[in-house]
Amino acid sequence: MVSGPPRTFGELIERHELEIFRYALRLTGRRADADDVFQETFLAAFRAWPPPRRGNERAWLYRIATNKAIDNGRRSRRLVSVEDLRLAAPERDGVTTLDLAAAIRALPTGQRAAFVLHRVEGLPHREVATALGCSEEAARARVHEATKKVKEAMA
């Protein structure tokens, strides 16, 4: 794959579609909502082309996706299917994925996004901050608070 900034929408899609869909699924917990968030994210990115800074399109996309997921969450309050939860849930250390997914779903949106970006997607705090449009300290605090809540829920 060619490195450097994406020159076409197709390159942006091919590089990031899987992680953005996974992220959308983890934030929304439902395939149809993830599909909407995925589409809205990329369409917004196309309309705002080019990406803001060379090589930084990943955090840019996460930021758009986070905002779209929040918008989507405001619009829809629907039940989450077991199958979608299973997919949305990260698999970790023997805890049942369904329990963990439920614990993540119970988090407030900002903490949920911070938790998924850092603990599941593995982004450093600096990139979580860029994606969420907050300071690095705030991102760190959100991850910390979310982790505490998830641990309590799993205890």
């Binding site: 929408f9 899609i13 599909d35 369409l43 196309f46």
Partner: protein, 207 residues
């Protein structure tokens, strides 16, 4: 399963981007006896056919310069050219119905490739003849370069253009590919190394 979800989401995204005119160019892969071909279709027609699974840098640069960044993977919009290519490779098609798009090339390149496109199935022409048909008989070297940089091989049949000495000349997909294409069209009448001068006129007359 997640891959299936992503594939569906991508299809929905591409359909919306295309409806909203955000994505004027669609691309995809076509099968060929020589491996995958990267094809791109613009609103004017087929804009690129490239030997290989990834786009050529100069093709990509031309598409972005002409149409902006709105290139998306969309198998549906590349269906027609993929189907016609398949029929051609199976010997079931002699002319292409899909339109082609030379936008972004120089006027001379467009003239040379336009002349190339008029060389019929199984026929041959030299670079010199193509230069003449493009309006400049003395520019056979430049015509050779224009033919060599043809972004739409097969549909614009640059494999039918040979050197004045009867040898096969060059080809973006490799000389073996050029020979195979001529084999398909001429039922195997492609001598090793090309056509010696004595046989060249006869070969060119054949149709």
């Amino acid at each position: 399963m997640i891959e299936e979800y992503v594939r569906d989401a991508r299809d929905h995204l591409v359909a919306r981007a295309s409806r909203g005119s955000l994505a004027p160019v669609a691309y995809g892969l076509a099968d060929s006896p020589f491996g995958p071909l990267w094809v791109a279709v613009s609103p004017r027609g087929v804009a690129v056919i490239h030997y290989g699974g990834r786009p050529d840098e100069s093709d990509l640069e031309r598409l972005v310069r002409t149409y902006g960044p709105g290139l998306v993977p969309d198998p549906r919009r590349t269906d027609a050219v993929r189907r016609e290519l398949d029929q051609y490779f199976r010997g079931k098609r002699r002319t292409f119905d899909v339109r082609f798009d030379l936008a972004g090339l120089t006027p001379f390149q467009q003239k040379v490739l336009g002349a190339t496109a008029r060389v019929g199935y199984g026929d041959l022409a030299t670079y010199k003849v193509v230069a003449k048909r493009a309006g400049n008989e003395k520019a056979s070297r430049a015509a050779g370069q224009a033919v060599g940089s043809n972004p739409i091989p097969i549909v614009v049949p640059c494999h039918r253009i040979i050197a004045s000495d009867g040898t096969l000349g060059g080809y973006s997909g490799g000389l073996e590919t050029k020979r195979c294409l001529l084999d398909i069209e001429r039922a195997g009448d492609v001598p090793e190394g090309g056509w010696p001068p004595a046989r060249r006129a006869r070969a060119q007359r054949r149709s």
